[in-house]
Symmetry: C2
Subunit: 337 residues, 2 copies
C-alpha cells in the first residue's frame, strides 16, 4: 500500500502562525468515492488566504478542525477517477490536500487543463492559475478601471498584486504600488513597470496617506487591496468620488491582535465608494478568456511574474510562514517529485 | 432692505458638536446672480450628514469655512428667479442656507414640486423628500434585497432607518432594526412594524453580534447602515455570503476620537461582501417613482413616519445637536414663519 504524507493542523494559531501549529503526518492513500478524483500532487500552491481556514470563524469555507488535513490549491495528475468528466492521466488543478496525494471533488475551482497551453507547468498554478486569474477578475470585474484612471495596489510585490498592477497598465491606467521595504518598492517600478511605488513600512496612516497622494496626483479611482488594516485606512483617504476598492485579501489582519483603528471609513459615504470582496469562482465561466489574455501578454513581454518554488513537502511549512513574514518573492509554491 | 438671519460656523468641532460652534448672524438678503434663485425658506431640514461639512476633510462637498453660512436642505418659495426653469412663487426643495432666506443654484438635488401631490408640506422635506428617498434608493438600489431575505437596519428609529425598514417589509423581507435604548427598540416593532429589534446600547461587539444572530436566525443579507463603528463591526460578523451593506451614514464616527477598532472587516473577503456608499443624486432620474410609491404606501397605511418640528431659527441649533444625542424622534426639521 502506498503512503500519503500530508500536513495537519496541530493547534489553532491565536496570533502569528508558527511552524509548531502544523505537523507532517503519514497515512494510507485513500480510494476515491463516487464523484471524486485521486490525484498525485505535482505542485502545491501556498496562499495567504489559507490563514482564513485556521481560525474559528466560518468564511467561504468552514474552518479546518484540529488534527485535520490542510487544504489548498494543488496541481496534479489523476491516478484514479470516479468522475465522468475526468480520465486517468488528466492534469487537474483544484482544491486538494497540502500533501503528496489529494482526493478532489471537482467544482468551480477545479479544472482540467492542457499543458500545451501553458508555458510551464508551474504557470498553471501561478500566473495563469488562481493567483493570476484573481488579479485579472478582481481588477477588471470588481475594480472596473477605465482608461486613464489611477489604480493603487497594496501587497503589490506579491503574486496577485504584481499581476494586478501590470494588467492595470495594459489597460491604460496609471499603476501605483504599495509594498513593504525599499527592495520591493524598487522592484515594482524596475521589474514590473509600475508608474510609481511607495513603501508603507514604518509609516503612520497620515504619513502613508501623504506619500500615496504624492504618487497619485489625480487621486485613486481603483484600489486593489491585498493588505487591509492601516494600508486600507490610508488609501481610503485618497479615493476619488465613486471610487472602487476591490478587496482581495486582508493579510495584515489575519495575525493582528488587536486590529487597527479605522479612521477613514467615513469616506465610503463621503465619496460614495464601493468596497467589494470577491471569490474567483464567481467568474468561472470566463476563465478561458483570462488565460488567453494573460498568455498573450506574457508572450508579448507585457506581463512578468516571479515564482518561489520550494522543493518537497518538508519545505512547505517554512514556505507558508514566509508569506506572513513578507520574505517571499512572487508566487509561492511547492514542487513534489 | 429686508434682513436675513442665518447660522454661521464659529469654530470647527474637534469632537462632539457644541452649541458654541455656531452663531446666528444677521445680514442683508442678497440678490440672485444669473442661474440662481432667491428663496424664502419655509422648512429647514436638519441632517446628521451636515456634520461632514464641519470638518477639515473634503467629502462630496467642500468643508464649510469658519465664519461661513451653514448649508443644508431647505424647502421654500421662490421670491426672485434668474433661472429659466423656475418662476416666482414656485415651491422648491434644494441645498440652501440654514437661515430665513437662501440663494439656491438648482442642481440634481434641487427640485420644484407641486404641493397637491404631498399630504403635507413637511412631508416634502421629510418622508417624501431627501430622507425618504434616501431610504428608498439606498435600500432598493444599493442593498437590492430579494423577497424572503433578511434586512438589518441600524439607526432604525431615525428618519431614514424607520422608512428603510418599512420598505424592506413592503418588499417581502424580514426587517430587523438596531436602535439605542429600549424605548426606541420597542417603537420599531410596535409602531413601525419591524419583525424584530435589538438595542445596541452598552453592548460590546461580540454581545451585539450575538443578539443580532438571535434576531436574524437566517443571517443578514442586506445591512442598511446609518451608524458605522461597533454597530457596523458587529453586523459584518452576521452577513451572509454575497451580502450587501448599503452605507448611508456613519453617524457614530463623526464625533468619535479615537475611532473604534474594526475586528470584522475580513468578512468583506471571507463572505464576498459588497459595502457601498451612495449619494441620493445618483438616482435623480427616478425620484418621481420613489415619491409615487411612497405616497401610495402612506395612503395604504403601510408606511408610517414621525416628524420632529422645531419652531423658528432660534431652535435650529438645539435641534441639530439633538441628532447626535439620540434624543430626536423621526425627521428633524425647523419651521419658519
Amino acid at each position: 500500500m502506498t503512503t500519503n504524507r500530508f500536513i495537519v493542523l496541530k493547534s489553532r494559531p491565536s496570533g502569528k502562525v508558527r511552524a509548531s501549529d502544523f505537523e507532517i503526518v503519514a497515512g494510507p492513500v485513500p480510494s476515491p468515492a463516487g464523484g471524486q478524483l485521486l490525484v498525485k500532487n505535482l505542485y502545491l500552491s501556498l496562499d495567504p488566504g489559507v490563514r482564513n481556514l485556521l481560525g474559528v470563524e466560518e468564511g467561504y469555507l468552514p474552518p479546518i478542525a484540529i488534527g485535520n488535513k490542510l487544504s489548498g490549491t494543488v496541481l496534479g495528475r489523476v491516478i484514479e477517477t470516479r468522475h465522468s468528466s475526468f480520465e486517468k492521466g488528466d492534469l487537474v488543478l483544484g482544491r486538494g490536500w497540502i500533501g503528496e496525494y489529494s482526493l478532489i471533488v471537482p467544482n468551480d475551482l477545479c479544472w482540467k487543463f492542457d499543458p500545451r497551453l501553458y508555458p510551464t507547468l508551474s504557470s498553471a498554478i501561478g500566473v495563469l492559475g488562481i493567483t493570476g486569474r484573481t488579479a485579472y477578475f478582481g481588477l477588471l470585474e470588481v475594480g472596473r478601471p477605465k482608461t486613464g484612471e489611477t489604480v493603487l495596489i497594496s501587497g503589490a510585490a506579491g503574486a496577485v498584486g504584481s499581476v494586478a498592477g501590470q494588467i492595470a497598465r495594459i489597460n491604460g491606467c496609471r499603476a501605483v504600488g504599495i509594498a513593504g521595504g525599499e527592495t520591493k518598492r524598487r522592484r515594482l517600478v524596475e521589474e514590473f513597470g509600475f508608474d510609481a511605488a511607495v513603501d508603507y513600512k514604518g509609516r503612520s496612516v497620515p504619513e502613508l496617506s501623504a506619500v500615496i497622494a504624492e504618487a497619485c496626483p489625480n487621486g485613486v479611482d481603483v484600489f486593489f487591496d491585498n493588505v487591509g488594516g492601516i494600508v486600507l485606512d490610508a488609501a481610503l483617504s485618497r479615493m476619488n468620488w465613486a471610487g472602487r476598492v476591490a478587496v482581495c485579501g486582508l493579510i495584515s489582519q489575519y495575525d493582528a491582535a488587536p486590529p487597527p483603528r479605522m479612521t477613514n471609513l467615513f469616506y465610503i459615504v463621503a465619496k460614495a465608494l464601493r468596497v467589494e470582496g470577491f471569490l474567483l469562482a464567481q467568474f468561472a465561466d470566463r476563465y478561458a478568456q483570462a488565460v488567453t489574455d494573460m498568455r498573450r501578454w506574457i508572450a508579448e513581454g507585457l506581463l512578468r511574474y516571479r515564482e518561489e518554488v520550494a522543493e518537497g513537502l518538508d519545505e512547505a511549512i517554512p514556505a507558508f510562514l514566509s508569506l506572513f513574514e513578507g520574505t517571499n518573492q512572487g508566487k509561492t509554491m511547492v514542487r513534489l517529485r
